[in-house]
Amino acid sequence: MLRHLVKEKKESNPRTPEDMSVKKALWQDVLARFLKNKSGIVGFSIVVIMILLIIFAPVITRFDYDAQSFPDRLLYPSALHPFGTDNFGRDLFTRMLYGGRISFMIAFIATLISAAIGTVFGSVAGYFGGVIDMIISRFLDILMAIPSLLLAIAISAALGSGPINTALALSIGGIAISARIIRATVMAIKTNEYIEAAKATGSRNLRIIRKHILPNTFAPLLVNATMSIGGSIMGIAGLSFIGLGVKPPTPEWGSILNVGREFIRDFWPMTVFPALFIMLTIFGFNLFGDALRDALDPRLKD
């Protein structure tokens, strides 16, 4: 009589479909798709190499980043100094690697802050809708109307230079975009019946947001974060270039570039190498982010 129960017991036979079909976890699917994307692998490699370089800076180069040596000023690249030296005789390669630490750290912190605040705003606006959504969205509109670099400049000028202040300055501009992305994702997720099911089984709003909505917003958030790290690095470089951001003697790609301006006609290494590193890093992050977005896109499911 209880045929539906008997049926399940019979399926312990190893030749049944469930055992034979390929069970893939969500992440394995994503990974497989990502690995098919050549440019994504290139981008990922660039990012990884960069990060490894800056982590292992003390091992790779034996110079101190602030070891001045006037007789060795403005030397062209050689075996001893792969990137040459700067106007104070400091090894440029060392300054680039240590400078990378600063750039990446600030970029990560700025992205983290804007993602966190953006998620709060976006999920509240997307989930509750109505007046709350309207207020938050108009606030975000205002924020987006201000060019983010100008905003960063203004805040940086107000707070002063230094890594933490720079991170804060850059994070404000990114809040609106993160919030917009989260809001759109949350609104799409809300249309799924499992949200209604959560309500029907007694979950309160906060629990629904925490348990059912946010975990499903992870994908677009990750893609956005990856892309915006590239933008942040450019922003930091830009701020340092104009004298805000990080000030010398702390090494930073943008500030090195700024000083290198004076010598651009006679001595190219101080402009070319920082510019190259900035370009390469952003390029890598963008390729990686693009490929990640494609890999996470459920429409590509076979």
Partner: protein, 319 residues
Amino acid sequence: MDELLRVEHLKKYFNNPGGMLHAVDDISFTIKKGDVLGVVGESGCGKTTLGRVVIKLLEPTGGKIFYEGKDITDIGKKANIELRKEMQIIFQDPYSSLNPRLHVFDLIADPLKSFRLMGRSARKDKVFELMDMVGLSRRFAYSYPHELDGGRRQRIGVARALALSPKFIVCDEPVSSLDVSIQAQILNLLQDLQKQHQLTYIFVTHDLSVVKHISTDILVMYVGAMVEKCGAKELFEKPLHPYTKGLLAAIPVPNIDYVREKIVLQGELSSPINPKSECRFANRCSYASDICRREIPVYEEVLPKHFVTCHRVREINNL
């Protein structure tokens, strides 16, 4: 008491940009404990909305709802959440009704966690007990929805609905998205569970043949309005409303010797937005007359326990 759910002149309207959408318009019925009310109709008839309003997942625009004799129409948010322990729903789409990031165990345990009804160990026992009840092998406990087929996913939905031991369940087209050979498995499961646990159902579907053997009574809806309601057997033997007759004649029967009157309803369904003051079926009805286009017909008991909304029901059926 005998009566579990009573609904009086229930209305649910939605404010659309094009006008006021009368999704559910003046519906009344009573369901006794242990009965199954089949709610049948085509798309846009309001049956899905009705299912949700009745268990207070949506707030009604008008009318009253009584559960076990108590008026639950205007209860507050807190009481509404408490009501979830009594009234549950099984959804149509076994894909979008399950959170893709949770595995089977968490999906079924979710209601228990929301209410913090029991400790971890007791909860584990309960989840496995529910899985057994719905015929879901325990080895799927940590699988994800996308790894399972439609039939198994729907069983998860059933287990989740039963987790809080409700008395009343709205089954919203629970088999429409499933393959034909799986449909029967799930229909039998729902039937068995109903008998074993003395559950009361509202079974919403567009397919009359599906509710034929599971329903005690059947309610036919059309563009938000009630059209006919009577005992299940009687609906098939003695349909009185022209729409019901057309609906029965339209359902394809896998029997080449089946003989029945051929009725093909022409025309399209009228719009539920800002409906005119007339019978909603008038534009397609071969019996439509002047009064049908002027006045909204009244829901009345035409034969014992057989309700119809039609101006000309007695003439058409020679009563």
